[in-house]
């Protein structure tokens, strides 16, 4: 039994199933983080006092992390472009970078969390810290998911390139879309939490 249009584009909708599916999923993720951003706005508006990000958060570290994540987005799109050029070796290199860079991000984030715990800056401390911990942790969980997916497509999943290259390209494109979204969320999270 064959499911049509998994990879081939359906003429009247202009999409294949996987691409449409991942975009729909991303739409729901926009609403998920939207709920949290809405929470942030509401709590801040209602607060008697709200700390500057710099009071609790390390801006240089946050900036480095932002650069790391943006870099991983670049390597992701380069990995996909390499596949389209048929250069599997380059794909592997770029994809490995896309897996390792967020691991570094998580290590740095882990260090930030550790520092916070040492200073007793826990989520229960204030609503600012509560929303900081929750939003970055949820984002972190999404990063872990991305590492797992990208790791799979770098490692065991990459065998598909030799048997079904079109489908593999399609899957990597979908993984890329997810990964860019994760980067996108951080592009908003960083200034909102650290800089404002």
């Amino acid at each position: 039994m064959e499911i049509p249009y998994t990879v081939a584009v359906r003429p009247d909708t202009g999409l294949n199933n996987v691409k449409l599916g991942i975009w729909l999923f991303l739409a729901s993720e926009v609403m998920l983080f939207g709920g949290l951003f809405s929470t942030y706005v509401l709590l801040r508006m209602g607060a008697v006092e709200w700390p500057l990000g710099a009071e609790f958060l390390n801006i240089p570290i946050g900036t480095v992390n932002t650069a790391i994540l943006i870099a991983s987005s670049v390597t992701m799109v380069m990995a996909y472009a390499s596949l389209k050029l048929g250069d599997f070796a380059k794909y592997k290199t770029y994809m490995l970078a896309t897996v390792l860079l967020p691991v570094l991000f998580l290590c740095i984030k882990g260090y930030e969390y550790y520092e916070k715990v040492q200073h007793d800056h826990l989520p229960s401390h204030s609503t600012f810290l509560a929303i900081y911990w929750t939003m970055t942790a949820l984002h972190g969980i999404h990063i872990i998911g991305g590492i797992a997916v990208n790791g799979y497509f770098w490692g065991p999943g990459s065998k598909m390139w030799h048997t079904k290259p079109a489908m593999f390209e399609n899957r990597v494109e979908a993984a890329g879309l997810y990964w860019h979204f994760v980067d996108l969320v951080w592009i908003f999270l960083f200034p909102v939490l650290y800089l404002l």
Partner: protein
Amino acid sequence: MSGNAEEVRKHIAIYKKIAGALAVGTIVTVLASYLDVSVALGITIALIIASTKASLVAVYFMHLGEERSQWLNLTLGMTAAFWLVLMLVPLFTFSDHIGVAKTLPNANAPMEHAAEAH
């Protein structure tokens, strides 16, 4: 379904430019945060820069600029609209109320018994 090699190389050139723009945008964001402006203006500037960076990622890295699908446009349009509603309406109900909200002096203050509790 490999793309035309020429086209892909053109795309790669664009990716590099966008990467540069994102790096610049990040630096600008951080520098702008040190400007001595009101909170409202600071938020506005930060959000404008973030939105610009996000748009670059969406249009070029996620290839949204090249998609031609009415259903995708519809979905993303609806999502944007409802996201806006979600952001704005709790805010409006917060500012439009009957009666006076009484905030107590210790609201959002550090927990007094933090050391003992943990």
